[in-house]
């Protein structure tokens, strides 16, 4: 069961948080895990909006051998030149330059990112029970 | 060529399933599969019979790929079987033997009923042997996975049992940590501590690490995370129980814990009381009020 949401405004980011929360609850994730995945979703949705020029997120309720939620964020934006650098924490600068990817990654059970200059970005984040 | 061999085995299973089942059961019993009493003969026979049928069906489709879609029912049977064996306490060997003891049974049947030439019978047996080996390995892996899940769950329970949060005084909590602090345990510790902070309205938490064997960079990170989380809830932390070796290790590793740390829990308690503006005084005799912190 996959839901696709458009991300083109900050209200959309709020909607993404709400839907991820709803599906996280439905998948049986505990409160802390729910909070982590919704927070990660908020970070990644905001990135999609602010750096990717808008995009989509597919939210999937996973109910197989593993239970939880899987999120796939996609945008056709400028892409990230140096993924390793982006994954390093940007919070220490505190000036909002960090993409927050490192932090979001820590909140996910599984995290992958595909991006290249001029080729958009695709981030997958899953949280398992 | 391989296709013909599969069909040989498949045909064998088709026409002589009962005989093969009997041989297989005999081997299993000889190997002691029923000795422990954890499984009854009728149950074992049902499992074997089920497996043979599913194997026959998979081979009949012409497939030899045990990871492919055709073999999914076979894998499902083996996964369920090893899972329950693992939970019931069977050894890995006993579980794997379920598959491996089928080999001689199949070879014997091939020997008796083969209608091709010796070479192609041998080739068929060889392929069957390889396939059963792979299935045997699959069974062992499934068994391992179940054991691992069990261990993880037990670790979780141990983590929860071994992180009590103690109320020392109004607003002062003590958290004696015992054992190594890995990331999973840190999560449990944080949850327990924060919930206690809320429940007790605590503003101070003393984290005692007397029972923590070593404090390396990773452990220090986990401690810092715990302290940071408590601080976000309005509680300050004091570290206590620092043994001389730990202090040395921390300095050599360049670990910096930016918080008050004391050697003993008693000292830390003293500091905590002082922070709250409390002092402990002796009770006065006669008519003076007892003034106690």
């Amino acid at each position: 069961m996959t839901e696709r949401l458009e991300i083109h405004s900050s209200e959309d980011v709020v909607r993404v948080r709400q839907r991820v929360r709803a599906l996280a609850v439905e998948s049986g994730l505990g409160l802390v895990d729910q909070t982590k995945v919704v927070t990660a979703a908020s970070e990644l949705a905001r990135n999609t909006l602010d750096y990717g020029g808008g995009g989509t997120v597919d939210i999937e309720l996973v109910n197989g051998a593993r239970r939880g939620v899987r999120l796939v964020f996609e945008d056709q934006g400028p892409g990230i030149k140096d993924i390793d650098a982006a994954l390093r924490d940007g919070f220490s600068t505190g000036s909002g330059l960090g993409l927050g990817l490192g932090g979001a990654k820590r909140l996910c059970s599984e995290f992958t990112i595909q991006s290249a200059l001029g080729q958009g970005t695709r981030v997958t984040c899953s949280r398992w029970k | 060529m391989p296709k013909a061999n599969k069909l040989v085995t498949s045909a064998l299973l088709n026409s002589h399933q009962a005989e093969i089942l009997q041989q297989w059961m005999r081997r299993l019993k000889e190997d002691g599969a029923l000795e422990s009493g954890r499984i009854r003969e009728s149950e074992l026979q049902a499992q074997c019979s089920d497996f043979l049928s599913k194997l026959r069906d998979a081979l009949a489709k012409g497939s030899n790929d045990i990871d492919g879609a055709d073999f999914a029912p076979v894998r499902a049977v083996l996964t369920d079987l090893s899972s329950s064996r693992a939970t019931q306490g069977f050894s890995p060997r006993e579980t794997a033997m379920f598959v491996f003891s089928l080999k001689p049974a199949l070879f014997d049947a091939a020997q008796k009923h083969a209608d091709g030439d010796a070479a192609s019978t041998m080739e068929a047996n060889w392929q069957t042997g390889l396939m059963l080996d792979r299935l045997g390995l699959f069974t062992t892996e499934a068994y391992q996975k179940t054991r691992e899940t069990l261990i993880v769950r037990q670790q979780q329970e141990i983590a929860e049992l071994s992180t009590p949060v103690i109320k020392l005084w109004d607003g002062i909590l003590a958290l004696p940590l015992i054992g190594t602090l890995d990331s999973q345990r840190t999560q449990v510790v944080m949850e327990n501590l924060l919930e206690s902070i809320v429940a007790q309205g605590a503003t101070m938490a003393i984290i005692d690490i007397t029972g923590v064997p070593t404090v390396d960079t990773l452990t220090a990170q986990h401690l810092l995370k715990t302290v940071a989380a408590a601080r976000l809830m309005g509680a300050d932390c004091i570290l206590s129980g620092i043994r001389p070796q730990i202090a040395q290790t921390m300095v050599h590793l360049g670990v910096e814990l930016n918080m008050v740390s004391k050697a003993t829990l008693a000292d830390a308690f003293s500091v905590a009381l002082a922070r709250q503006g409390r002092i402990v005084t002796k009770r006065r005799t006669a008519n003076n009020n007892s003034a106690e912190g």
């Binding site: 209200e11 905001r46 | 944080m190 919930e195 902070i197 976000l232």
Partner: protein, 129 residues
């Protein structure tokens, strides 16, 4: 169209209760409104109640950091109260320690913290950073 979060005045303390899942513009507006109010009311303290927030992501976290820093410059203390355990754990994992922000369990204790600053000669701010 942008809702603004109301700011209450209790003596010389400004009280803000965040009860909605804020989108970014609301958060930015709050920061502006609070700054203006601190100056116009010569407030000594700002109390931000986040007990209703299920999520605090990096944007909100930075907003809290900013408000604390701004109020400090204007000689007021900011205390954030009511953070939920799951949120605290997630923030720490995210890498946000909000070290410039004072915290307390609830409004009462938050008020006490602000009062103590006025009463005691020694500043408690050095403790836990």
């Amino acid at each position: 169209m942008v809702d603004r979060i109301p700011i209450l005045k209790l003596g010389d303390v400004l009280l803000v209760t965040i009860q909605v899942d804020m989108h970014d513009q609301i958060a930015t507006a709050l920061e502006e409104d609070l700054t203006a109010r601190i100056v116009s009311s010569s407030a000594r303290g700002v109390l931000i109640d986040i007990s209703a927030l299920e999520i605090v992501d990096s944007f909100i976290g930075r907003m809290l950091d900013n408000i604390a820093a701004i109020s400090r410059i204007l000689d007021a203390d900011t205390v954030v109260v009511g953070m939920r355990p799951a949120v605290a754990i997630t923030l720490v994992e995210l890498g946000l320690t909000l070290s410039g922000v004072k915290t307390a369990l609830d409004v009462d204790r938050g008020m006490a913290l602000i009062r103590r600053r006025d009463e005691s000669a020694v500043d408690d701010a050095d403790d836990s950073d």
